[in-house]
């Protein structure tokens, strides 16, 4: 049984319901006990820091202080959302490194009857805990319904592996840990070049043209790599690529149909849970077609986007055959570069 403190973040309630549902489902078999931090507040996303940096750190620190106080036998806070994760981890890191800042923030926290001791809480993303603490061997042992070669593009987004203050990941830009996890579930992981490129965050609200362009790049690259779906670990990324795909298609006059699911949903499927239990079917761009290919039937619900004809843009680039001069060897087990 691995026990953690849990910071769900504001999206888990509604827009990322599927993430929450699937996490709850797989929590049991994984032996993952998540104690929600009592009375946590919003992490401020990327909005608060743009209004006032110091207040933003104070906002986040309240959560760290509450976590420290909670004492459930763990000193690790797990956050499923990348932005929440980074805000918490960054604030913790800064408070630990900068005594002046820590003093200032604690003065502010005192006004609310709280205090945080820098270094007393460790912050990690959900994927980090699943991959490093639970481990793919354990997960492999629990797979009852391998995903039959479902072609997936592993999409981590930017904030989990960058800036990576605690050096959890082998690479800031092309990490392969997520690939390995998905492969363990029986999926075929395509070589997706934009694993950690940005989904645009809130840009769909700020500058739609920019936002849609970023979304398009990701979907197009996944399509070109032969993916049947994108798999992600952040509510914002999922929302952008899923909920705004239609608008993006209209903007660029394309007709992509690239579903995007949370990794917890795929783990759930591989563990044999029925799709409905994992929030599958709540995605706007339906994953039904992709999952049907591997024999998983997702019940049809109302108000689903009609399944598109397929990708737009130029046909898929064939894999270039390599002859001629030799290439340098890449040492990592997945062709990873040396550090």
């Amino acid at each position: 049984m691995t026990r953690f403190l849990y910071y769900p973040g504001c999206s888990m309630d509604a827009s990322a319901r599927a993430y929450a549902d699937s996490l709850e489902a797989i929590g049991g078999p994984l032996g993952l006990e998540l104690d929600e931090i009592e009375d946590w507040n919003c992490c401020g996303a990327t909005e608060y820091q743009g209004i006032s940096p110091t207040r933003a750190y104070a906002l986040v620190s309240r959560n760290l202080a509450l976590a420290e106080k909670q004492k459930n036998g763990s000193r690790t806070v797990v956050a499923p959302c990348s932005a929440c994760y980074l805000n918490l981890a960054k604030t913790e890191h800064y408070l630990r490194e900068d005594k002046g800042l820590a003093a200032k923030i604690n003065t502010a926290l005192e006004a609310g009857g709280l205090h945080y001791t820098p270094g007393s809480i460790e912050v990690r993303h959900l994927l980090d805990v699943v991959f490093f603490d639970i481990g793919i061997e354990t997960i492999h042992g629990l797979v009852t319904r391998p995903l039959g070669g479902l072609k997936v593009a592993p999409y981590l987004g930017c904030l989990v592996t960058r800036p990576d203050y605690d050096h959890r990941w082998r690479s800031n830009e092309h990490p392969r840990e997520f690939d390995r996890l998905l492969r363990t579930l029986g999926a075929e992981v395509v070589d997706f070049p934009l694993r950690t490129d940005c989904c645009g965050g809130h840009m769909t609200q700020i500058s739609p043209a920019t936002g849609f362009e970023l979304i398009r790049r990701l979907i197009h690259a996944a399509d070109q790599a032969g993916a049947e779906m994108l798999v992600t670990l952040c509510p914002m990324c999922q929302m952008n690529i899923d909920a705004y795909q239609a608008e993006m298609n209209r903007y660029f006059k394309t007709s992509y149909h690239m579903p995007i699911l949370f990794f917890t949903q795929l783990i759930g499927l591989a563990f044999g849970f029925p799709p409905e239990k994992l929030g599958i079917g709540t995605e706007i761009v339906s994953a039904r077609q992709a999952l049907a290919k591997i024999g998983i039937a997702v019940p049809v619900t109302e108000a689903q986007e009609p399944v598109g004809a397929g990708a737009a843009g130029p046909p898929r680039r064939p894999r270039a055959k390599r002859t001629g001069l030799p290439m340098p060897a890449m040492p990592g087990e997945d062709g990873e570069a040396p550090r």
Binding site: C10, S11, D13, A14, S15, A18, D39, W40, N41, C42, G44, A45, E47, Y48, Q49, G50, I51, S52, P53, T54, R55, Y57, A58, L59, R62, Y94, D98, L101, K104, T107, A108, L109, A111, G112, L114, C158, L159, R162, P163, D164, E173, D197, C198, G200, G201, H202, M203, I206, S207, P208, A209, T210, L214, A243, A246, E247, T282, I284, A303, E305
Partner: protein, 194 residues
């Protein structure tokens, strides 16, 4: 009234660069920029910025206060941290962008109000509930800025609603809402003092 410079910068230098440095709670190393352009080259939204991030640093150094604070650059930053991990001088560029946003907002020098409005609404929701209120935020934002997008958004909105992904009601206010407010007020005081 420019904020006080960090300790190791002498009081003699009351430049805009120091003002920006002071806005960032930690040492951002912004003065270490050698203008290599890695940030501008890495930025996924650079094409839509008035000035590349690197150019902004050059302008900050040159004391072009008005141009910098009116630039849309920090508002177009997506916080992807590509620049931060690639910068050869280890400058914390996203933090500088946040600092510039805060300064621009404070002085009302933003290029257009879309982004700051979004942030302000977001932040107001936090003050009110302790949590964010996505639907409220989007609704207010679209009504103010993206009226014409609303019709096109309808299918998505209906879809989200039907699948239970849209909470129409505001979140339950956290118990410590008032304490949180006190914390934030105190933090604001400390920020102004510095």
């Amino acid at each position: 009234m420019p904020a006080a410079a960090p300790a190791h910068v002498t009081a003699r230098d009351a430049t805009f660069q120091n003002e920006v440095r002071a806005m960032i709670p930690r040492d951002s190393r912004l003065e270490m920029c050698v203008q290599c352009g890695t940030c501008g080259g890495s930025c996924p939204s650079a094409a839509d910025m008035d000035h590349t991030p690197r150019m902004v640093f050059a302008m900050v150094r040159a004391g072009l206060r008005d141009e910098v604070l009116r630039s849309n650059t920090p508002w177009m930053c997506v916080s992807c941290y590509f620049c931060a991990v690639r910068c050869p001088q280890e400058i914390h560029i996203p933090d500088v962008m946040y600092g510039l946003k805060a300064m621009a907002t404070r002085e009302g020098l933003v290029p257009d109000s879309v982004a700051p409005d979004f942030s302000k609404t977001f932040v107001n929701n936090i003050h009110r509930y302790g949590r964010s209120f996505e639907v409220g935020l989007i609704a207010r934002h679209y009504l103010r800025h993206y009226l014409t997008r609303l019709p096109g958004m309808a299918p998505m909105g209906i879809g989200m609603l039907a699948k239970g992904r849209m909470g129409l009601r505001p979140p339950k206010t956290i118990k410590g809402r008032d304490d949180l407010r006190k914390i934030l007020v105190r933090a604001a005081e400390l920020e102004a003092e510095a």
